[in-house]
Amino acid sequence: MKHIARIASSMTHKGALLPVALVTVLAACDFDVVNPGRVQEEFLFEVEAQQAIVKGIGRAASEAQNWVGYTGAAITREVHPSGSTGSFGITVEWQNGELDYETVNTHWNLSQRARWWGDDGVAKIMETGASEQSLLAEAYLWAGYAYRLLGENFCVSVIDGESAGARSVYYDRAIARFDQAASLGSGEMAMAAVAGRAAVKAFMGDWAGAVSDASGIPDGFVWEMPYFDTEGDATRNRIQFATQNEPYKAHTQKFTKYEDYAQSDNNPAGDPRVPYRVTDETGDAAVQCCGQVPWWPQQKYTNAGDNIPLSKGTEMRMIEAEAMLVSGEWQGAMDKINALRSAAGVEAATASNAAEAWTALKHERGIVTWLEGRRLGDFFRWNRDNTPGDRHPLEMPSGSQHEGSHLVQQDLCFPIARGEVDTNPNINGPTG
């Protein structure tokens, strides 16, 4: 202590208060830095934040839809891989039809985020008090679609870090949110909620409920997930951007069932609902099955800002047709199918029995919902329900990389991703 006292005395003696003052200043440093840019949670409980919360829920759902829909399209051969395995490509595993739990982290994460944010966002709005009922309805609507995406595409459910549950948990939650959206919303938004609910009920096998909801939706109704070509990759229509020539050319209609069927440069009289373009180029790289593949890009979406339909009147007609098939009214189902084909300017489909009618429906539903992220779920439930009728051979696994669809296998739902398995103590593996 004497040592320190002597030093202090010397310093004071010489008037050397400068260091003391500096030390004092430094000690009083203000560490409370608030950086701009990111929003702290407390601000989300303000009324003014509600619109951005709702749009955020929508955007989260759109990103999930983007990834799940594109990969599902590859597995079901709505598109065939023709190139890049990188950023916008179809991985070697997906080319073979395999949905390995190590390769689907992004799909899982985005879908879970959309689901969680839908629920959490609604809770925040409810806690604050909704500024407008329509905003709350929209939040419920996007949340409903987020749950529908999960229910149609993922094998088992996981909610908020708990253990795995039945897939039906997603359906039930989707219906609850669509119910809220339908009752709080109005106009097209309410109609979208009813149409979304019809699809979920169909998936659950509640055909009466599905038809009841579907019947109120006119043929021309369309509710879309918005995409934008001006805000970066996350909000671009991924299926479109992956195949446009800048630079990926990642998928093609070559080797799909649409190659000979659809309207194209080779077949102007083909079905205009599934158009593609014939080019003399090949995909941006060779793929495992077939080397360099002719690049015949789909033309349903021609711009990365094109929206993806989530619910449509035509889909409702297909629900009604399928309900008829389930109840044995296959002629009535064919009438429904052909009404749509007639409206599209395509020749009528024929069937001489229920099984052929089921084949026609499976084909037609693929056309109606082409590249809308629905095909994987359809395949799953038709397999689950052991429905009659056939899918096109180019939609089925051929067991070999080198023939037919080039699908070695065909996984019909996304497993729990490795990221969830690794972090959630209640989950023991890809199936829960």
């Binding site: 409370d32 989300l44 690794d422």
Partner: protein
């Protein structure tokens, strides 16, 4: 005369000329200020071995406070010396101090020359870095590496990275690509953090300088690789010619006083200062070439089905890019060369990328003011066709002593760096990727005319970098001093990235311009008081504080869909977007340190620093970092035989930290757009308890000189433990936040040893031959993940308990040598990503006539990294050059002759990117140089006191592990050296450099 000169220039109205003349006038005028009434001591200092002049030698009259530094020509002058008898002492790092007795008469001048001999161990050398105020080497308990540039560096390096490469035990300096101006990753004793930067802190003359790389030049949306995919280093804003010495301290035991952010070590650069006396001018001209060594398989290994060259004339040993590579173009008479294709027409037409550097400096001063002013201009082509760098560096260092007890030092440098780059790395719009992938590139065409349009992408960067610092040293009493430093590091970066209208992969054009500003404001105060304690113990108490405020701001304008050709700006675009990001981090700390000196033989230093940081969580508070070290000059003991040499034993223990990122503590939602309306997305979970990770280090070792000062040994053993390590704790995705959250949950350890050895095999008046080596062995291990799951940090780098930090993990083939299909095992652990063995070798010959020949080589081993270009090519069915040997076997001997490893790596049916992991061992000759003085008569014809020429080659010989069949371990990823895991993307490796230099001293 001076006034006339200034007036003459002013009348011509040229500002630049006036500034230059003012500088000249200043240089001429300052010595005239000297007093004339007392005596003068003057003389010169030369190296006893080479007879070359030695600059920056401290020459002083012992016990008087009078002294100076010798200038670059070895001359010194001490003015205003009262008449009397004195001991004149000359000392400098790396040389044995020499004394002479002199008598100064009234108004007289004493001439005293010195011949200094190299000294293996300088116990009384002054060390600054890591100590509170200066300390003698004998007092310091931790390892400090000092590079005395003038003595140890023969050939002029291209930049500071090259200067440091292969010189310091425990330091790894690795480049990332051939991109001109690209910076290097620097690691001291490996990685101490798995989530934060492991690049050491950089100080220049006491001013904290940004150590992370500058920003990559890439548009803010779209794939993040539409770039040259390398970054510049702030370290290279310093001209190597301006550097006097470099001090490196490597671990927490030494860096405690730097507190939070210092656990990865500190590099401090000291630039030159003027000496009392007339101005000494030094001019230097460097002319050189950069050329690549081959980085692919010899064309003779190609399988029968392969053409010997690509359609553009590329060869497999350059992965087919040589038609665009300066120095390796095909001969013009080659039939494959198409119209307008650049080619090699014969002698000197395609020797390589031209490098040129011109430097001029002047230093001098009077008793109370000294100056060093320099300028350097560098104009370098890169080996890739669009690559070019023009760099201007200006420096002014001024030392002013208005009173006996006050010294002001103002050091300022300004660098203007203008860079143009070729799109490279993993970039589908880039030259390198599309060339490496041959006819299965994004054009399905490997011809020259198909690929050449990729050069139309313009990637230009301008960096203006100002580093300025003012240090006031006030010593009101002989035993009490105060030093206050204010430092400001300001870098402004202007990036422009244009794919013009009509660009081959973006036909309607894309333009992004970004303006970055990085600045660091430092306030640093140190007070030191020497106190004589009872029993002859001397003590020095130091105390102080430091505040470092770091800001980073960027504004970016983006546009695409241009209406037509032309030279656009963003507002010509059909779509325009704007982006902005600003962060500010404040770190401040106080410290106290006490040093005890027992008989000038035993030393003990103890201290503590306490830090706060704006990135710490609200619940965290402050962090204390204690330290203690001791040194023991055993050779000063009575029992020590003087003939044994001298030796110091040392040990140090201390802590330092790394702060979390600016946003890690708080739960945030990202403000994103969705079709023009605002949208919130979950972003960061937040952790109010997050604080710094704390690295504790214990190091012990010895330094000694033996065998008549011919053998120098420096040995250090160290062990580090990073507790509360910041690990990226993966969140449960079903809880909504999908990004990882930093938490202080982990623990990792490093340990190793470093050995430095130099030996003078021959040392006499005409010859010296020195050899030396350094050896660093290093191991790391993740001790604990704190219950959180293992996590990836990219590039197959994983953080897994019980494995190196990080470990390279991938699926692997368990029967690699079998002639069978591969048996594949999940999650194999290959080894660390950082080298575990670094060995350096160097030798210097000094021959009669002042000729010097020096060589330096480096080996790094034990690391593994992913060869990304191989993986990306193979999965796209590209005929990858690295598989030529396997294809050859396949085609000539049949599939059955392929091993399982070859099948996994080269046959697409077994493809996994996991099979791209390769050992990254390499050996390179970092430098071979020859230096000779020009005859004095030639020098005097130009009015110079001396001149010399140097011819050197750098990195012109390389050995790599045979399993790395393509590229080079010094090829990095898409973010340059700002990466935690070294992995390769589609870059051209760093080239070799061949330089001729002429230096003239006036």
């Amino acid at each position: 005369m001076v006034n006339r000169l200034l007036e003459s220039v002013r009348s011509r109205g040229s500002g630049a000329a006036f500034a230059g003349a003012a500088l000249l006038a200043f240089a001429l005028a300052v010595p005239a200020v000297a007093h004339a009434q007392d005596g003068t001591v003057t003389g010169s200092v030369t190296d006893a071995a080479s007879q070359r002049p030695v600059g920056s030698v401290q020459v002083h009259l012992v016990g008087t406070g009078l002294g100076t530094l010798s200038r670059d020509n070895g001359r010194f002058i001490i003015l205003n010396v009262p008449p009397g008898d004195y001991t004149l002492r000359a000392e400098r790092i790396g040389f044995t101090a020499v004394e002479a007795q002199i008598t100064v008469g009234a108004g007289g001048t004493v001439q005293q020359d010195f011949n200094l001999s190299a000294q293996a161990l300088g116990l009384d050398e002054i060390v600054v870095t890591g100590t509170a105020g200066a300390a003698r080497r004998r007092e310091v308990g931790n390892s400090v590496s000092q590079l005395n540039i003038e003595e140890e560096v023969v050939a002029p390096p291209q930049n500071v990275d090259a200067l440091l490469q292969g010189r310091v035990p425990g330091m790894s300096v690795t480049q990332s690509s051939a991109s001109v101006g690209g910076g290097a990753m620097i690691r001291l004793r490996g990685n101490v953090s798995m989530t934060q930067s492991n690049q050491p802190l950089i100080y220049v003359d006491g001013v904290r300088v940004r150590s992370s790389g500058f920003a990559k030049n890439v548009p803010p949306i779209g794939y993040s690789g539409r770039s040259n995919n390398d970054v510049s280093s702030p370290l290279n804003s310093i001209s190597p010619q301006d550097i006097e010495r470099v001090e490196v301290i490597k671990g927490a035991a030494a860096t405690t006083l730097y507190g939070t952010e210092a656990s990865a070590g500190v590099i401090q650069i000291f630039t030159k200062r003027g000496s009392v006396g007339e101005a000494t001018w030094t001019g230097q001209i460097n002319q050189g070439l950069a050329r690549n060594l081959t980085f692919g398989p010899d064309p003779s290994l190609r399988p029968p089905s392969e053409n010997p060259t690509s359609l553009s004339g590329g060869r497999s040993d350059f992965l087919f890019i040589n038609p665009w590579l300066r120095g390796h173009k095909p001969k013009c008479d080659d039939a494959i060369v198409v119209a307008d294709q650049p080619c090699d027409s014969g002698l000197f037409s395609d020797m390589g990328a031209h490098q040129q550097n011109y430097a001029l400096s002047v230093g001098g001063g009077a008793e109370n003011i000294r100056y060093f002013v320099s300028g350097a201009f560098e104009s370098d082509d890169g080996v890739l066709p669009n690559d070019h760098e023009d760099k201007l560096i200006l420096r002014g260092n001024f030392t002013f002593s208005p009173r006996e007890d006050l010294q002001l030092q103002w050091n300022t440098s300004y660098t203007n760096d203008q860079l143009a780059h070729t799109a490279g790395g993993n970039n589908a719009h880039g030259m390198t990727l599309n060339t490496f992938r041959r006819d299965r590139n994004y054009l399905n065409d490997e011809s020259f005319n198909a690929i050449n349009p990729f050069l139309n992408q313009e990637i230009t960067t301008q960096i203006d970098h100002l580093i300025t610092g003012l240090t006031a040293t006030y010593s009101p009493m002989a035993n009490f001093s105060n030093r206050l430093s204010i430092g400001y590091d300001l870098a402004q970066q202007d990036n422009r990235n244009l794919r013009p209208f009509g660009f081959i992969r973006a036909p309607t054009g894309i333009l992004a311009t970004s303006r970055y500003e990085f600045n660091t404001l430092t306030f640093d105060y140190v007070g030191s008081m020497d106190v004589e304690l009872p029993s002859g113990i001397r003590s020095a108490l130091s105390f102080g504080g430091q505040s470092v405020t770091t800001r980073s701001e960027v504004t970016t304008a983006y546009g695409d869909n241009f209406p037509g050709p032309g030279d656009p700006d963003v507002d010509n675009a059909g779509n325009t977007l704007g982006f902005e990001d600003r962060t500010r981090v404040v770190n401040a700390g106080l410290f106290v340190e006490s040093k005890f000196d027992f008989s000038n033989k035993y030393f003990l230093i103890a201290g503590v620093r306490v830090d706060g940081n704006s990135a710490f969580g609200a619940d965290f508070g402050f962090q204390a970092y204690p330290k203690v070290s001791g040194s023991y000059i055993i050779s000063d003991e009575d029992f020590w035989n003087e003939g044994w040499g001298s030796m110091k034993l040392r040990a140090a223990w201390g802590q330092a930290g790394r702060a979390p990122g600016a946003f890690d503590a708080v739960r945030t939602f990202g403000a994103a757009g969705w079709g023009g309306v605002p949208a919130f997305l979950p972003s960061n979970v937040g952790n109010p308890e997050v604080g710094p990770e704390t690295t504790t280090e214990l190091e012990a070792g010895f330094e000694g000189s033996f065998v008549d000062d011919r053998l120098a040994l420096d040995f250090t053993y160290f062990t580090q433990n990073t507790a509360q390590a910041l690990f990226s704790v993966r969140q449960i995705p079903s809880l909504g936040f999908t990004s990882s959250q930093l938490a202080n949950v982990g623990e990792l350890a490093n340990s190793g040893m470093e050995l430095g050895l130099t030996y003078s095999i021959i040392r006499n008046d005409t010859w010296t031959w020195d050899i030396g080596s350094t050896l660093s062995l290093h191991d790391s291990e993740i001790i604990s993940l704190g219950g959180s799951p293992s996590f990836s940090i990219g590039g197959f780098g994983w953080v897994v308990e019980g494995h190196p930090a990080p470990v390279i993990r991938s699926d692997c083939v368990t029967n690699p040598d079998a002639h069978a299909d591969p048996i594949i095992e999940d999650d194999c652990y290959h080894g660390p990503n950082q080298a575990t063995t670094i060995a350096g070798m160097h030798t210097t010959f000094q021959l009669p006539g002042g000729i010097t020949i020096a060589a330096r080589a480096e080996y790094q081993g034990g690391a593994f990294m992913s060869n990304g270009p191989q993986a990306a090519a193979t999965r796209r069915s590209v005929r990858w050059a690295g598989c030529f040997e396997a294809y050859n076997t396949w085609e000539t001997q049949g599939y059955a002759a392929l091993t399982a490893e070859e099948r996994a790596r080269c046959d697409l049916q077994f493809y996994q990117s996991d099979f791209s992991i390769q050992p990254a061992d390499f050996f390179k000759i970092r430098e071979l140089s020859f230096q000779a003085p020009l005859p004095e008569a030639w020098a005097s014809m130009a009015g110079a006191s001396r001149a010399n020429v140097t011819i050197s080659g750098r990195n012109f010989f390389r050995w790599v592990d045979p399993l790395m069949r393509t590229l080079d371990p010094e090829v990095g990823g898409n973010v340059g050296f700002n990466t935690r895991v070294r992995s390769m993307t589609e870059h051209v490796p760093p080239p070799a450099f061949y330089t001729f230099a002429l230096q003239v001293v006036f």
